[in-house]
Structure formats: structure tokens, C-alpha cells
């Protein structure tokens, strides 16, 4: 499975981000250094999983939902325990998890995407998940992380899952019910002294800035506007994101297409231009919006600025065709 993931081009190619996540993992499991490896998967879905060979995969989408390093460490500690306690092998022996069997036995490769879904969906037994929670929590504490952040991981995700109406998020499908997990983590952390490392949201946001942008692009290009809005419409999160995030907010509104979203998109694009005047896509988006509203002079102005800023953009042929229409309709030279 690890080979297929690498061959399939789904591993996120960022040395800095991967090294950072690997560093957190090694802080949690120092004695397993050289035996446990983390990779980031190019996917905006909320998922993380462990293979029996010590490969831990965390999706881009899940990484950017965390608010700080302590929250990331919570999930890494949990997945790391699945590896150190050999949960994958035990599942195969019990014959319950066909996906784990596939991962170990190198089962038929063409059905791998389905296998991965099965693996994530069925996960491990409830007992193993609880074990990963409890022992993962102990790792978190030993590494000096702020353990009071751990219940928040699940609280944020509950809010997101409700907002997006996700029936069975992969990562949690066979884990104890989310609410139970929050209670579990709260119980574990209740006796712990306040404080600890990794609670800074600013430091984490800075480290994850590029992953955030890449994930937003990935989400929006996959048509997942509602998911993008959960992050972008939250003012607290928006300020942590790079300045061009206002453009992505506009795109999320445009793609959602609910009542009033065109106006919201326009406002966001204008804010993006104000915050990052050299960021070309905001001009193209505004230009298209104006053209669709028959405001051809404005459309022409924005689209010309886009061409000026991005003379070799891949969508230049579309933009040139829009400009032709805008110029003709506004009485200028086509």
C-alpha cells in the first residue's frame, strides 16, 4: 500500500512540512526513531491512518483543521500507538479487517482506493481505538504537550462534521463515538496540570501556511465549497491564514452559489485586492463576476489587470475571450 501511494503521486511533496510533522512524531515516540515515518497525503478529506510497517499517513485536510501543534500531536500519538502495539497484525490474525490484510499481503492493487476507504472506515476494533486513546494520551503528556488541547481536536471536528452534514467521517467511523471521545479526552486531561507545549495557534498557522493554501486549492477544485467555508468564514481562522485567503473565501461563496453568495464573493474578492494587490486571481474572479452581471466596463478593467499581472496564466485563452466580449459590449475595441 505504501508503494502504491508513493507511485500514485498522492504524497504531498513538501520537505519542510513533512519534516515538521515527522519531528512531532519523533518527539512523541523517541525510541522508535528510524522505524516510524509520517507522510502527508494530498487529500482534503479528514483522515489519518497507520500501516503495520510504521508508515503513518495524515491527510492535508486534517492537518489544516488542527489549531496548534498539541492538537496535531494528539492524532499522531493515537496513530503511533496503532503501530507500536501492532494493531494491524492483530486485526489480520482476527480476520476482521480485510484492508489491513491487503496492506500486509499486498492484495490486488487496482482496488486500492476502495481498500484505503475500507481501512479508514473500519479502522481497528473499538478496544484498540480506546487503547490508542489512553496510551496516546500518556505519550502526549510525557512529551510535554499541553494535554488540554486534545479534547479540542474532536470538538472542532464535531462542529465541522455537523456543518457539513458528514454522515461517517472516515477517521472516526469505527472509533468510539465522537462525543464519547471528547468526554474520554476530557476525563484524561482533567487531572493534568495546566500549561504545556504546542498550544500556540500563530506558530502552527505560520508553519502550515503553504499546506493551508494548497489544501484550499485542492478543496475548491474538488468542488468542496462548504468545507472550505467552515474554515474561511470563521474570522478567528481567517486572520491566521495568508492574505490571499480572502480570494479563496470569495471562490468558496461563488462555488456554493447560495442566495446572497455572489455579493459575498464580490466583497471577499475586493478585500483580497485590498490586502494583496499583486495577487492576480482576485482580478480575474471579479472580472468574470462583473461580466456575468453585465457590468462590462468594470469587467474589462479587472480582466485587463489580471492579464497584466499574469501574462502567462494557464487560463489566458478564456480571459481573452471574456475581454473580447467585455470590450465589445462596453463600446470599446474588441
Amino acid at each position: 500500500m505504501a508503494q502504491a501511494l508513493a507511485r500514485g503521486g498522492v504524497i504531498y511533496d513538501s520537505e519542510a512540512s513533512t519534516a515538521y510533522v515527522q519531528h512531532v512524531m519523533e518527539r512523541l515516540f523517541p525510541e522508535f526513531k528510524g522505524h516510524i515515518y509520517v507522510a502527508i497525503v494530498k487529500s482534503s478529506q479528514l483522515n489519518a491512518f497507520a500501516l503495520p510497517n510504521g508508515r503513518i499517513y495524515v491527510n492535508q485536510g486534517l492537518l489544516v483543521r488542527f489549531r496548534n501543534e498539541a492538537q496535531l500531536a494528539t492524532v499522531l500519538a493515537h496513530e503511533g500507538i496503532h503501530f507500536t502495539n501492532r494493531h494491524g497484525y492483530q486485526e489480520v490474525q482476527s480476520g476482521k479487517d480485510y484492508a489491513a490484510f491487503g496492506a500486509i499481503g499486498g492484495m490486488i492493487v487496482p482496488i486500492l482506493p476502495q481498500l484505503m476507504a475500507v481501512s479508514s472506515t473500519y479502522g481497528f476494533s473499538r478496544q484498540m481505538e480506546t487503547e490508542a486513546d489512553v496510551q496516546g494520551f500518556a505519550r502526549l503528556k510525557r512529551a510535554g504537550y499541553d494535554v488540554h488541547e486534545s479534547p479540542k481536536v474532536f470538538e472542532h471536528l464535531i462542529a465541522e462534521i455537523k456543518a457539513e452534514d458528514i454522515k461517517e467521517p472516515f477517521f472516526f467511523a469505527s472509533h468510539p463515538r465522537l462525543l464519547e471521545r471528547v468526554e474520554n479526552m476530557k476525563r484524561l486531561s482533567s487531572g493534568a496540570a495546566p500549561g504545556g507545549d504546542g498550544a500556540s495557534t500563530t506558530a502552527y498557522a505560520q508553519t502550515m501556511a503553504q499546506v493551508q493554501v494548497d489544501n484550499l486549492e485542492s478543496m475548491l477544485s474538488a468542488g468542496r465549497a462548504k468545507s472550505a467555508l467552515i474554515m474561511l468564514a470563521d474570522p478567528e481562522r481567517l486572520v491566521e491564514l495568508p492574505p490571499q485567503a480572502q480570494y479563496y473565501l470569495g471562490e468558496a461563496y461563488r462555488l456554493r452559489g447560495a442566495e446572497g453568495d455572489v455579493k459575498r464573493a464580490e466583497e471577499a474578492y475586493l478585500k483580497a485586492i485590498e490586502g494583496t494587490p499583486e495577487f492576480a486571481p482576485s482580478y480575474r474572479a471579479l472580472g468574470v463576476l462583473c461580466m456575468k452581471a453585465n457590468h462590462y466596463l468594470d469587467a474589462q478593467k479587472y480582466l485587463e489587470r489580471y492579464v497584466e499581472l499574469a501574462p502567462s496564466a494557464p487560463d489566458l485563452k478564456y480571459v481573452e475571450s471574456y475581454l473580447k466580449i467585455a470590450r465589445k459590449k462596453s463600446g470599446g475595441t474588441p
Binding site: A4, L5, R7, G8, G9, V10, V41, K42, S43, S44, V109, P110, L112, P113, M116, S218, S221, A222, G223, V288, K292, P314, D315, K317, Y318, S321, Y322
Partner: protein, 188 residues
């Protein structure tokens, strides 16, 4: 007979699938006569029972092939549940196509858009999209999609093949098919 063969045989008997046929002449009429297209002589073609899809392949449908389909624009895409509208610009239609493909699995989610530009198909404004992705074995696959809206229907013509050998070999046949594509006279 393998399982796929058995299933196909049973479906054929039940009349649920049209039998594959060799392309012997040009042009090929759409199953519902709404368009005609020059499919390459010698290829195998097959129509869907609902008359909405026509597929053609030289070496086997699982290896490489053309896929021509039409559907009501109000009908949502299978995975993204988004529907096209008559007001959509060609670039927005292409955006829907990309989103649908990216939602297929983790491998197509990592696709690269090689080309996305306006195109004219049978006199209608549409898009010409070319994407590339790897399958689970690391084999690079290329897909080209042309799409446009005519009245209340969304038409798409696509070709997919492995980059290794097949794409370059059969892409010119697909291009000829796209150039020959004509909506029925009454609909123009």
C-alpha cells in the same frame, strides 16, 4: 469465462446492454440520433441502454477509449452533486468536470491540469480540458474532455489512455472524431 464475461453475457441476454459492434462505416449515429460522429473504422463501439452514452475503443474499454455522452443539464454530477446550468461559462463547465474527477479517489484527487481552454464543438462554445493522473500502479493516464451545453443538454466527448504508448497512438483518432461531431440538423 471470467466473472466480467459472465456478467456481460447475462446482461446481454436480459437486453440490458447493447451488444458491442465493429465500426464499419462513417459517420456513426448517436443511439438517439441526436448527433453523428466519425468513429474510427475497425474500433469497437457500444451504446448504453438509455441511449445517452456511446463508447468506442481500439484495444479494449478498460485500456483506452472514447466516451461520448449527453445528459440533461439539470442532472447533478454523480460525485459532487453539482449540476451545470445554461448560463455557465465554458470555464465553469470545465471546473465541474475537474471537481467530479478529483472526487473519484485519492489518485485522481492528485491530478494535474495540463490544458484548459475554450473550444468550439459543432458550432457551440465549450471547453477543451486535458488532465493527467497516476493510477495505483504508478501508470500515467491522460484524459481529454470536450464539453458544451446545447439547449437543455450537456454534451461531453472524452478520451482516456495510458501515456505509455496508447495516448499518442490513438489521440489523433479522437481529435478527428471531435472535429466530425455534428449535432442533428434539426437541433442546430
Amino acid at each position: 469465462m471470467n466473472r466480467i464475461g459472465t456478467a456481460t453475457f447475462v446482461l446481454l441476454l436480459a437486453g440490458c446492454v447493447q451488444a458491442p459492434a465493429r465500426v464499419d462505416s462513417m459517420p456513426t449515429q448517436a443511439p438517439d440520433k441526436s448527433y453523428s460522429v466519425d468513429l474510427p473504422i475497425g474500433w469497437i463501439k457500444q451504446g448504453s441502454p438509455d441511449n445517452r452514452t456511446l463508447i468506442a475503443s481500439r484495444n479494449g474499454f478498460l485500456l483506452e477509449g472514447m466516451h461520448i455522452s449527453k445528459r440533461p443539464i439539470k442532472e447533478a454530477f454523480h460525485r459532487t452533486k453539482k449540476a451545470a446550468t445554461a448560463q455557465m461559462l465554458p470555464a465553469e463547465l470545465a471546473e465541474l468536470e475537474i471537481a467530479e474527477l478529483k472526487s473519484q479517489d485519492q489518485f485522481t484527487a492528485a491530478l494535474t491540469v495540463e490544458q484548459n481552454e475554450p473550444a468550439e464543438i459543432s458550432g457551440r462554445e465549450g471547453f477543451d480540458l486535458r488532465v493527467r493522473f497516476k493510477n495505483t500502479r504508478g501508470l500515467e493516464i491522460q484524459r481529454v474532455v470536450y464539453g458544451f451545453v446545447d439547449q437543455a443538454e450537456y454534451y461531453r466527448l472524452s478520451f482516456q489512455a495510458p501515456m505509455l504508448y496508447y495516448f499518442d497512438k490513438y489521440y489523433p483518432d479522437f481529435q478527428k472524431a471531435v472535429e466530425s461531431f455534428q449535432l442533428a440538423a434539426a437541433r442546430k
